[in-house]
């Protein structure tokens, strides 16, 4: 079409080669490493085995997977409970302000992840600002232990990933035809019924996209559990981290990553299918109308 710039293939080549060398090849290597034995002194012995994968499903490790899924699941639910109303409020704001409010809602997300997590250490520690706020309101008992709990980890995850939900739901809401809302009202539906029967179902793809992002990012996270959570083997991310940097069992670490990636890929593919299907149904409905 435009030979003037050179062939598309040639333009894409440097970037694709870089991705091959620093993304595809390393990931393939991890995939392969999961099926080798651990060397006597760390390292890898190139003998094929299922041992690592079998061990990843040992009740001890399966338990950590389930626990991670539980924490990530709770973080997802809370992020939706906070993020949906926020996105709805932004979508209902005067049109000329929407872009600015949305930018401000996402801005904290672009600052350093460690710093955003550290902020919660300052707020939640025993002599932290929350305790002081309680004291100021007349509380005299023991300072509450808020930090180094599952709750702190969940708050940290919600805080860090909330913008994903806001963006995803807002983009679904902004594509919504405002006439649907009016039609529902004209047919006698109250505000809540309109929301439940019209707006919510139509914005489900946005909800699903936001939820999958929060869950996927949370379940593989190791910084937040390490800084805000108690104990050592908190979540899968920490377990993987330990296999590589402490236990020096790279094949087992690779096997754990393999399971983690499989779970995440399955969720992303499922979300993609749901989105395609809803888009298809909507197209049919539009044709029928």
């Amino acid at each position: 079409m435009t030979p003037a710039l050179g062939k598309p293939r040639l333009l894409m080549a440097p970037a694709l080669l870089w991705l091959m060398a620093f993304l595809v090849a390393p990931c393939a290597l991890v995939l392969a490493n999961a099926f080798f034995l651990r060397g006597l002194y760390g390292g890898i012995e190139y003998t094929l085995t299922w041992e690592n994968l079998v061990r990843a499903f040992d009740p001890l490790y399966a338990g950590i997977f389930l626990r991670s899924a539980e924490v990530a699941g709770l973080a997802t639910v809370f992020a939706l409970l906070v993020g949906y109303p926020a996105a709805y409020a932004i979508a209902m704001a005067p049109r000329r302000w929407q872009a600015t409010i949305l930018f401000l809602a996402v801005l904290p997300f672009w600052s350093n992840y460690l710093i955003r997590t550290y902020a919660w250490i300052v707020l939640l520690n025993r002599e932290g600002l929350l305790t002081q706020a309680l004291r100021w309101m007349g509380y005299t008992g023991e300072p509450p232990s808020l930090l180094y709990t599952d709750g702190a980890v969940i708050v940290g995850l919600v805080y860090n990933y909330l913008p994903f939900v806001i963006l995803a739901v807002y983009s679904a809401l902004s594509r919504l035809n405002p006439e649907f809302r009016e039609a529902s009202r004209d047919l006698g539906a109250g505000g809540f019924t309109t929301f439940r029967r019209v707006i919510l179902p139509l914005t489900m793809p946005g909800v699903a996209a936001g939820a999958v992002f929060v869950f996927v990012l949370s379940i593989g996270n190791f910084v937040t559990p390490a800084l805000l959570g108690g104990g050592r083997f908190q979540m899968v991310g920490n377990l993987v981290y330990d296999q590589f940097l402490t236990a020096n069992d790279w094949p087992f670490g690779a096997a754990l990553s393999l399971v983690l990636i499989t779970v995440m890929m399955a969720l992303l593919v499922a979300q993609g299918l749901v989105a395609d299907r809803l888009a298809g149904e909507r197209a049919v409905a539009k044709e029928a109308a």
Partner: protein, 259 residues
């Protein structure tokens, strides 16, 4: 109707308080003379002054700058070319889209251990160069995404016109294509720079042993794990300021308000 508007305002106020109070507290504490989060003892710049005399932090800041500039430069060129190549193609390939989307969603820990495994197997000496090369992976994906968004509204017939008028491929790129996408290229580069400055996990795994190639986020992590000093509030404030400035600029370039 009026009740609805009030409820929405309350929701927005609460959500923004949730998003900004924790960061605001850090910024306020960075100016607290006593340094303790428990009591305000007067306004002071002394923690900023302390930062300027902390050799380890200055070295880490310099390392971060080197990594961010190098990876942004490479990623901006590769990402822009990639965007042009993809948008010029008539046929859309799902596999290609997935490959370019992957760096944005792959969990940092997975990419980090994958790169570490590869560098170790190939016996590559790790340091700032391996961190920068690794950062290019996700940076080029973000640059490409921003530039592609701009190219969606690009009038490709301008290129044909330029060629018909006798311009060479390079002249057309310099005089037609580049001016049209320049804003988005700068916006993408600023995003890449921010991501690289803030990235911790991949840097942590691909930095190699020793203190020589510690970046700022690695320094912050070790401060958080092994002893929080009041200096960290000042450092946090500066790092947040850099991100906010870069992102705001990026937004303006992308809308074409500047340049």
């Amino acid at each position: 109707m009026r009740d609805g508007r009030l409820a929405l305002t309350i929701v927005l106020t609460l959500v923004f308080a949730f998003l900004y109070v924790p960061i605001g507290v850090l910024v306020a504490l960075s100016f607290n003379e006593g340094g303790l989060p428990t009591a305000w003892s007067g306004f002071s710049f002394k923690w900023y002054a302390a930062l300027a005399h902390n050799g380890a932090i200055l070295q880490a800041a310099l390392n971060t700058l080197i990594v961010a500039l190098a990876s942004t430069a490479v990623a901006t060129v590769l990402g822009t070319l990639l965007a042009l190549g993809i948008e010029m193609r008539r046929r859309k390939s799902r596999g290609l889209e997935a490959l370019i989307f992957a760096p944005m969603i792959i969990p940092d820990i997975v990419l980090a251990i994958a790169l570490l495994s590869m560098f170790a197997m190939l016996d590559v000496t790790m340091g700032l160069h391996t961190i920068a090369a690794s950062h290019v992976v996700f940076n080029l994906a973000f640059v490409a995404a921003v530039v592609r968004a701009r190219l969606k509204s690009f009038d490709w017939s301008m290129i044909e016109a330029s060629t018909d008028l006798g311009a060479t491929g390079f002249t057309t790129f310099r005089r037609v294509t580049l001016p049209a996408i320049a804003g988005s290229v700068v916006a993408g580069a600023l995003i890449a720079f921010t991501l690289s400055v803030d990235e911790f996990i991949i840097a942590f795994f691909t930095a190699g042993a020793g203190r020589a190639s510690i970046t700022l986020p690695m320094q912050i992590y070790s401060m958080l794990r092994f002893g929080i000093t009041p200096e960290i509030n000042a450092l946090a404030t500066l790092v947040i300021a850099v991100s906010v400035v870069a992102l705001t600029l990026s937004q303006r370039f992308n809308r074409g308000m500047v340049g």
